[in-house]
């Protein structure tokens, strides 16, 4: 389509109007007739035996309908919350996969572990009764964080997991990697932590379960990024109700960032409880509850070595990582530090040898799972910090060292040493574009100007890659995934030519109602005003695997295109009949079927009408109707990448870091809506800068979360961030019909090492060589003082 609404147009979003008018419909906004409310009693201890639960007083309080405990779930035969990915140990044995009861039965294993569920006629009554549930705990020593859990003699989260090891996994070739290190001119070593963060979608999780006895039908309204997966897990593992009796609706969802991918116990419990009390049951998380129940992200501790030859060429990489799993295995948790992390350790660089080992560790903390980027930020951070350190150690400019080692455009498709095959990219082009847009040539002047104002200026760079468009089903199946990761779409053309698209992806901020409509405009020539995108309801949509891993356009969009191909082809047969021509002579362009080389045309709407009113119609060979479905299974991952540049100014007296410039050049493939793509980049950058400078979920050795509210957990605010300079250089993905790669996670992946690189660059003249995320004013100030003291001693 030429134009205003097709691919490449910054169309303003269709969904905005309802949000701006306050007419969004989020899960907590839904109140069903006879609505009742659930509140959970949660363990205040990280590790404790549950010796008794006395619910009698609570049961007698006004408005209370039921108080349910772990024993009730066992008696009812409810299944535990399953893990969706099986990772194998080095020796081929399975990971330790402990049970995950929906309500703790004998033992609570993290602060926030649900122990009892109170259901009452009002939220206030449920809250009051929850305080009257008397639980006797036998407090046990806890493995409160990675350090505690991996110390000799550490308390065990699970008896079945000695050393708290969930799995001990590896990838790559140790022998060729050892050989590379044996001949290396330089070996650079680093040890670092990738800090733990809480996802903090602004809408807290909520679930409203409704059992209707009249037809044995369960309906769940939930804050989910993938309602079909939730339905599948409810049916197959937890509620044991067949899918045709189970509807899962994820209405408007206020952000996800990974945390709403997973099937959570509360979803199961409100459905089960609804049948028990005979009324719909709604639970809405409070923010403090969210901090201790939503799956967190990151939390790695790694040691790595880089082997470099005499010419500055990388010849080997060795990595050993400890990854915190939390107490229970969340849906995709085992995949994050393995197939979404270690497979990315080649980055955008040409590495002839890599060997990585990952030990996943149980701790008495809430689960750790996918959070924006999921594994890929951890890989990029480790690699980029290591490359920066190599540049310093070898006395080579950071940009030049990267340039020397980037995979060249002529090397694609590029097979890495860690399983992935990158189809296409141009990492030099994004590097050049970012440097130009940042006006890097004049950086030194800016540094001097900052110095005149008493500020230490630093420059940071990250050249990164990610794998998204998740994922080829057979491949991930071979790697332990217990689900396929294709996507489904149904394109329904109505008799008068308007279109409804049913997609299995879910929009919780991404703007699918606009971008997917643009695909219809592009292909069928139908205005986006005449297109409705339906998502988030298992009763309306054929199937789907939801939205995460920057997969919606690459996988979901491709499924829509596949269905559109079928629509266009069927329309050709109808048009050929109407135009009395052969199908081979019909072309479809700009919303019209035309007999090639003539002015004989039928508009798309006329063909649609004929399909539903088939009076003059090829009825012997073509069915009436114009309604097609497609499933699309991707052939490979997609590989967005790019360069992120950051400049910071540090006040040496206070340690306050100000981000003064963020310039990025990404390659996210073909862009459907530039405005939305830029917006996705902005949000990812804010979360990446948040992790680098402000945010950290801090568990102490006892497993208490020290910062469980916005009073103590520092979310990035408007005044903490600058305007972002975002650029794109497109190489089209080679294996999906749209050429798209994905943009949802790039910012969160690329920017943290650039921020820390900039901080260290600013502090380098003082002798500071390391700082951990988040680089808070206190940490920076202490690093400055320590460096000054060390210099003083030397002098």
């Amino acid at each position: 389509m030429s134009g205003a609404e097709g691919i490449g147009a910054s169309v303003r979003r269709k969904e905005d109007r309802r949000f701006l008018l306050g007419k969004g419909r989020y899960t907590d906004d839904i109140v069903l007739p006879d609505q009742s409310y659930a509140v959970f009693v949660r363990s205040p201890y990280a590790h404790a035996g549950i010796t008794s639960i006395d619910t009698r007083a609570a049961c007698e309080m006004p408005g209370v309908l039921a108080v349910l405990t772990g024993k009730d779930t066992v008696d009812a035969g409810l299944g535990g919350v399953p893990c969706g990915w099986l990772v194998k140990n080095k020796d081929g044995s399975n990971m330790v996969e402990p049970p995950h009861p929906s309500l703790a039965v004998d033992v609570a294993r993290h602060v926030g572990d649900p122990v009892a569920m109170v259901i009452a006629t009002s939220k206030a009554a449920a809250r009051a009764a929850a305080t009257a549930v008397a639980v006797d705990y036998d407090v046990r020593p806890a493995a409160g964080n990675l350090d505690t859990a991996t110390a000799p003699g550490a308390p065990l989260v699970w008896d079945a997991a000695p050393g708290n090891i969930c799995f001990d996994w590896h990838i790559g070739d140790p022998a060729t990697t050892d050989a590379a290190f044996a001949k290396a001119a330089h070996v650079v070593e680093i040890e670092l932590t990738n800090s733990r963060v809480a996802p903090n979608a602004m809408e807290p999780r909520a679930a409203n379960g409704h059992f209707e006895a009249s037809n044995d039908q369960y309906t769940l309204y939930t804050t989910s990024q993938n309602p079909h997966l939730t339905r599948l897990l409810l049916a197959a593992f937890t509620l044991h109700v067949p899918e045709h009796k189970l509807r899962v609706v994820a209405p408007d969802v206020g952000g996800g960032f990974g945390s709403k991918i997973f099937h959570y116990a509360e979803e199961l419990l409100v459905l089960w409880a609804s049948k028990k009390v005979g009324r719909p049951v709604k639970w809405t998380s409070e923010r403090m509850e969210a901090f201790v129940t939503d799956a967190h992200g990151r939390d790695h501790h790694s040691k790595a070595q880089l082997a470099v030859d005499a010419n500055g060429k990388f010849i080997g990489l060795r990595v050993a990582t400890l990854a915190n799993m939390g107490a229970y295995l969340s849906t995709f948790a085992p995949a994050v530090p393995t197939y979404l992390y270690a497979t990315l350790l080649s980055g955008p660089y040409d590495f002839p040898a890599i060997y990585a080992e990952v030990k996943a560790i149980f701790t008495n903390t809430v689960a750790v799972d996918a959070y924006r980027g999921a594994g890929r930020p951890e890989a990029a951070y480790l690699l980029e910090r290591l490359v920066d350190k190599a540049a310093r150690q070898l006395g080579i400019d950071r940009i030049e060292l990267r340039r020397k080692n980037l995979i060249q455009p002529s090397q694609f498709p590029y097979q890495t040493q860690v399983a992935l095959q990158y189809d296409i990219g141009d990492y030099q082009a994004t590097l050049d574009m970012a440097l130009e847009r940042n006006d890097h040539a004049h950086y030194e002047q800016r540094r001097q100007a900052s110095a005149k104002r008493g500020k230490l200026r630093g420059f940071g760079i990250s050249t990164y890659i990610e794998a998204c468009g998740i994922a080829p089903s057979a491949l991930v199946g071979a790697l332990g995934a217990r689900a396929g990761l294709y996507e489904a779409a149904n394109v329904r053309v109505h008799p008068t030519g308007s279109v409804t698209v049913f997609t299995g992806t879910h929009s919780h901020g991404q703007g699918h109602e606009t971008t997917f409509a643009q695909l219809i405009a592009e292909r069928l020539g139908v205005s986006i005003q005449n297109v409705e995108i339906v998502h988030g309801d298992t009763d309306r949509i054929p199937f789907g695997m939801g939205t995460y891993g920057s997969r919606s356009a690459a996988v979901g969009g491709s499924a829509i295109v596949k269905a559109l191909d079928k629509i266009v082809d069927k329309g050709k047969k109808i048009a050929a009949h109407l135009l009395e021509a052969s199908v081979a002579d019909i072309e479809f362009k700009d919303g019209q079927y035309r007999v090639v080389g003539t002015d004989r045309v039928k508009a798309f709407g006329e063909v649609a009408f004929a399909a539903y009113v088939p009076h003059n119609y090829p009825i012997d060979t073509v069915e009436p109707g114009l309604d097609e479905s497609a499933f699309y299974d991707p052939k490979n991952f997609t590989f967005p990448g790019g360069t992120h540049l950051v400049e910071v100014e540090i006040d040496p007296d206070t340690g306050v870091v100000e981000v003064v410039d963020v310039t990025i050049a990404d390659d996210v493939g073909v862009i459907i809506n530039p405005m939305i793509v830029d917006g996705q980049a902005h949000g990812g950058l804010a979360q990446g800068i948040g992790q680098a400078l402000y945010e950290e979920a801090v568990y102490d050795s006892e497993g208490q979360l020290a910062n469980d509210s916005y009073l103590t957990y520092t979310m990035p605010r408007a005044a903490d961030l600058p305007m972002f300079k975002v650029g794109n250089h497109v190489t089209a993905c080679t294996h999906n019909p749209l050429g798209v790669k994905g943009v949802g996670e790039t910012g969160a992946i690329g920017v943290p090492p650039a921020v820390i690189g900039a901080v260290l660059d600013a502090l380098a003249p003082l002798g500071v060589t390391d700082i951990s995320m988040p680089a808070t004013p206190e940490k920076v100030w202490r690093a400055i003082q320590a460096a000054k003291a060390a210099t003083g001693k030397k002098a």
């Binding site: 303003r12 979003r13 969904e15 905005d16 109007r17 309802r18 949000f19 701006l20 008018l21 306050g22 007419k23 969004g24 419909r25 989020y26 907590d28 906004d29 109140v31 903090n200 979608a201 602004m202 809408e203 807290p204 408007d252 969802v253 206020g254 952000g255 960032f257 409070e286 923010r287 403090m288 919780h508 901020g509 991404q510 703007g511 405005m675 939305i676 830029d678 917006g679 902005h682 949000g683 990812g684 950058l685 804010a686 979360q687 509210s709 916005y710 009073l711 979310m715 990035p716 605010r717 408007a718 005044a719 961030l721 305007m723 972002f724 910012g747």
Partner: protein, 158 residues
């Protein structure tokens, strides 16, 4: 339960209301004005921002009884019929929202700013929005939208 009379979006409502009911609870649960959102428990996120006598207030910091006699405006009362308020229009034009959850609070807060400061600068907007958290946009487009919305409120193009 005691009765309470509230003026919300130019209409008068009489509701049953306990002394401890927060304004946000009365709006969401009793008047079913669910455009006002709750994103935290500590008055930090600003998703519940409404106007009380024209000034922005986090409706989780105020008891419903305290609002008696005041003129309350929620996000549902901002537009002129089908016509978006210039600030709402600016948020759409500049892609100042993604998931939409913080949006009502952002818009209400921004309108108050632009009534106080006719043409706020970027730093003024960023500082003013200190009490409103957004996790989607990185604030970039929100800041652009607020500055454009100020223009719109002064009769320019949002």
């Amino acid at each position: 339960m005691p009765k309470l009379t509230l003026r919300v979006n130019r209409q008068t409502h009489t509701i049953d209301c306990s002394a401890s009911t927060l304004l946000v609870e009365a709006l969401r649960e009793q008047l079913r004005l669910t455009g006002t959102h709750v994103g935290c428990d500590t008055s930090q996120c600003g998703a519940c921002t409404v106007h009380v006598d024209g000034a922005s207030v986090k409706s989780c910091t105020m008891l419903a009884v305290e609002a008696e006699g005041a003129e309350i405006t929620t996000i549902e009362g901002l537009a002129d019929g089908d016509k978006l308020h210039p600030m709402q229009a600016a948020f759409q034009e500049h892609h100042g929202l993604q998931c939409g959850f913080c949006t009502p609070g952002m818009v209400m807060s921004a309108v108050d700013l632009c009534k106080r400061v006719k043409a706020p600068s970027e730093p003024e907007v960023r500082t003013w929005l200190e009490g409103n958290l957004c996790r989607c946009t990185g604030y970039h487009n929100i800041v652009k939208a607020v500055m454009a919305g100020a223009d719109g409120m002064n009769g320019g193009k949002p």
